[in-house]
Amino acid sequence: MKKLLTVYNVLISIFLYAPIFVIVFFSFNSGSSRAVFEGFSMQWYQELFEDELILKSLYYSVIIAVLSAIVSTLIGTLAAIGIHSLKGWKKSAFLAVNNIPVVNPEIVTAISMMILFVFALGFFHNAEMGFGTLLIAHITFNIPYVVLSVLPKLRGMDQNIYYAALDLGCPPMRAFTKVVIPQIMPGIVSGLIMAFTLSLDDFVISYFNSGATFQTLPITIYSMTKKPYNLKLNALSTLLFAVVLALMLVVNLKKPKKAEKKA
């Protein structure tokens, strides 16, 4: 039974990693085919760094991801604190609204915002979708995830410490920054990271709300896949993958030490 399970897990791993292998392998193709390997070369990596469109959209992606992560973390953290202080139906109502963008299919969230933007921009002369609409859209789908990652930390927080600080004469604002924020910090940080990565990776919502001029990386990748496929995309994906892999290895090598300390 156990052997069977091991064989099965290996098969699923092959399934999960077969495309990854294909992408990495063909990024070193000296030919330009996505399916026929002609020989080893680094030419696609070289071309990647000469492609201004890709570099520019990577830059735009990072800017949108950083800004939307910061704004949604601020709004979401305050909201989580507010929601935590509510009771009864009010609390349920706020949580329900918060869950709408999580449960709704991405394409529905995307087109609903697109309708709003087209409608609202109709009142302005020459206004087009672009940086502004994209940033608003990203903040909107990030907020719920921040709320959901901060709320559990508030639930687990010892509220008496906050009241103790007040009793000892600490002004509420100071008690908030010195007592509450440090206790929920892990939730805020994981919300921020989640918002950043969701934004960086988003295709569907950006696709409908970015307009013609302001393209993030996933949009550029999509427009490149529609033309004859370009192996620069493989080189790009391989590089990004290598960066994430390296980050994960670093984090993972660090973690066991902490666990040992605790034990």
Binding site: L5, N9, I12, L16, P19, I20, V22, I23, R34, A35, I75, L78, A79, I81, G82, I83, H84, S85, L86, K87, K91, F94, V97, N98, I100, P101, V103, N104, P105, E106, I107, V108, T109, I111, S112, M113, I115, L116, V118, I136, T140, V147, L154, Q159, Y162, P172, M173, F176, D201, F203, Y222, T225, L233, S237, L240, F241, V244, L245, M248, N252
Partner: protein, 283 residues
């Protein structure tokens, strides 16, 4: 339930959130409903007729998403189970291992499946090389199977992780107790482990079914564009890729998806509650 604690000014804390969510979540959804029931002449139900026109597309979307979801449950459970029984270190590494592919752009990964599945792709070439013969009838791409494969591939991690989480919450002592009381292996699984992992299965189902039923990219790349799913129709009506822009029809179709998912979530929650009460009964 934890008692509410008031930190700072309750209204001031909620103000940015409330105004943002009203403006960019609730108003847009109201606009979708408004567009679905109007055209240039005002109120109308004629947009909903398109649901009948596109009933085959709708059924196909539901069918393929359901098949993909069922396959995901079946594929994910054994993995999630073996992960939950492993040591803490293996568990952590396995979680990373499963999430890692999701860090590669999903369009590029889906294109890689094209490379694998094409008639002259890697799988067919490998089969030809191994068996030394042609398989002219073996078309792995541009069919429903390829679309389902794309869905399973892209969303399997979303099924594995919630099931795994729910399985780790089952205490070893509970399983030992069941064994002490005379349950054999399959009884322990069927009456303790499986019922207690239902919440994980359910959140996995929602996390696979919803993106599957509304996808428009997977069908485009792996379906060869001939089997449009509901997501493709919505995309076309909003962006006019096939020449017609009509927000009203697009909104009506979006409304259908929303209603279906609301209904599905409602049914799921019902099951979830059942599972929790019967789970409580077991304990």
């Amino acid at each position: 339930m934890s008692k509410g604690v008031t930190v700072g000014n309750k209204k001031a804390n909620l103000f940015p959130f409330s105004s943002w969510m009203v403006l960019f979540v609730l108003v847009p959804i109201a606009l979708v409903v408004y567009y679905a029931f109007t055209d240039v002449n005002g109120f109308t139900l004629s947009n909903l007729k398109w649901i009948v026109t596109y009933r085959n597309t709708l059924w196909l979307s539901i069918e393929l998403a359901l098949i993909a979801t069922v396959i995901c449950v079946l594929l994910a459970y054994p993995i999630a189970y073996s992960m939950s029984r492993a040591s803490a270190r293996v568990q952590r590494n396995a979680t990373l291992f499963i999430m890692l592919p999701m860090w590669m752009n999903f369009l590029v990964r889906t294109y890689a499946w094209m490379t694998l599945l094409e008639d002259n792709g890697l799988i067919n070439s490998a089969l030809r090389a191994i068996f030394g013969m042609e398989f002219p009838g073996l078309h792995l791409i541009n069919n429903h199977g390829a679309i389902v494969l794309g869905m399973v591939y892209n969303y399997l991690p979303y099924m594995i992780l919630p099931i795994y989480t729910s399985l780790t919450k089952i205490g070893q002592s509970l399983i030992e107790a069941a064994r002490d009381l005379g349950a054999n292996g399959s009884q322990v699984f069927g009456r303790v482990i499986l019922p207690m992992s239902v919440p994980g299965i359910i959140s996995g189902i929602t996390m696979v079914f919803i993106p599957s039923i509304s996808t428009f990219i997977i069908s485009k790349i792996l379906g060869g564009g001939k089997d449009f799913l509901i997501g493709d129709l919505i995309e076309d009506y909003f962006l006019g890729n096939s020449g017609v822009v009509n927000y009203n029809i697009g909104a009506a179709l979006s409304l259908v998806i929303m209603v279906m998912i609301l209904a599905a979530t409602f049914i799921m929650n019902h099951f979830d509650k059942d599972a929790q009460t019967s789970g409580g009964g077991v304990i």
